[in-house]
Symmetry: C2
Subunit: 127 residues, 2 copies
DNA sequence: CAGACCTTGACACAACTGTGTTAAGGTTTG
DNA sequence: CAAACCTTAACACAGTTGTGTCAAGGTCTG
């Protein structure tokens, strides 16, 4: 046997067996299995489990956070969507002078009712 | 006034005023303020608020998740640590034959007690 | 100058997270 | 073959998240 069982791994890493299973469900560390289904933790997994502890402790991140980070790097769809959302900078269409945006109160009210449909329009950032 | 107040912004984006403040605290969308401290939502913010809704709905991510993603791209320290953790691939030291790792039960027990200190050691992945 | 907005702060509450414990059953081994 | 492991599933429970609502007080506008 060149690997540790879940209780042994728990002992060396400081996690509880329960948490090792939880961490596995999140997808952060999943050990290989023996023929009969026992989890087998090799040195690589033990290492990751220990550094995982440090990571969480030092930078106040949660397992869920890491789980999401994992999703970000595995699922290009989600990654792309998130990336795109963050990247979205105000594009100036230039066909409309910035100062004109919502210059009339009445127009403003109308637009409110209309749900401000023209989402591509934009404004200057007056400090 | 070239921007919407919080209630107006709420109406056009579908978020509640309460949630707009919450989203702001998370750091995802923070509108500029008027002299007297009123939140002022410009078109850029409204846009982000709407796409934020889509993002959450379509890909089952939470505000907290996005908050963490934000932290990842703002705080290079955290980003580095997380990146490093994910990147950590099993390095084979090669000065020790893979099959030798924990070959003796007694050694194994000793190593358990010692906390398996040699974290850089590694193992082959026997499928 | 009163009514309708805005501000922050706090109480509340369901749903989810992180974690332990226990139950029912399979595996490994002295 | 019984003790000591392992497995999954479930109940439990405190803490966090997401969300509403209310309170005390400032601001804007007809």
């Amino acid at each position: 046997m060149d690997a540790l069982t879940i209780h042994e791994a728990a002992e060396t890493t400081g996690w509880s067996p329960r948490m090792l299973r939880y961490i596995e469900r999140i997808g952060l560390v999943d050990p290989r299995r023996s023929e009969s289904g026992y989890r087998l933790y090799g040195a690589a997994e033990l290492q990751r489990l220990r550094t995982l502890r440090e990571l969480l402790a030092e930078h106040d991140v949660g397992l869920g956070d890491l789980g999401f980070a994992l999703r970000l790097r595995r699922d290009p769809e989600v990654r792309g969507a998130v990336e795109a959302w963050f990247e979205a900078r105000p594009e100036r269409p230039a066909d409309v002078p910035a100062d004109d945006w919502l210059s009339f109160e009445q127009q403003r009210h109308q637009r409110l009712l209309a749900g401000l449909a023209a989402t591509t329009t934009n404004v200057t950032e007056p400090a």
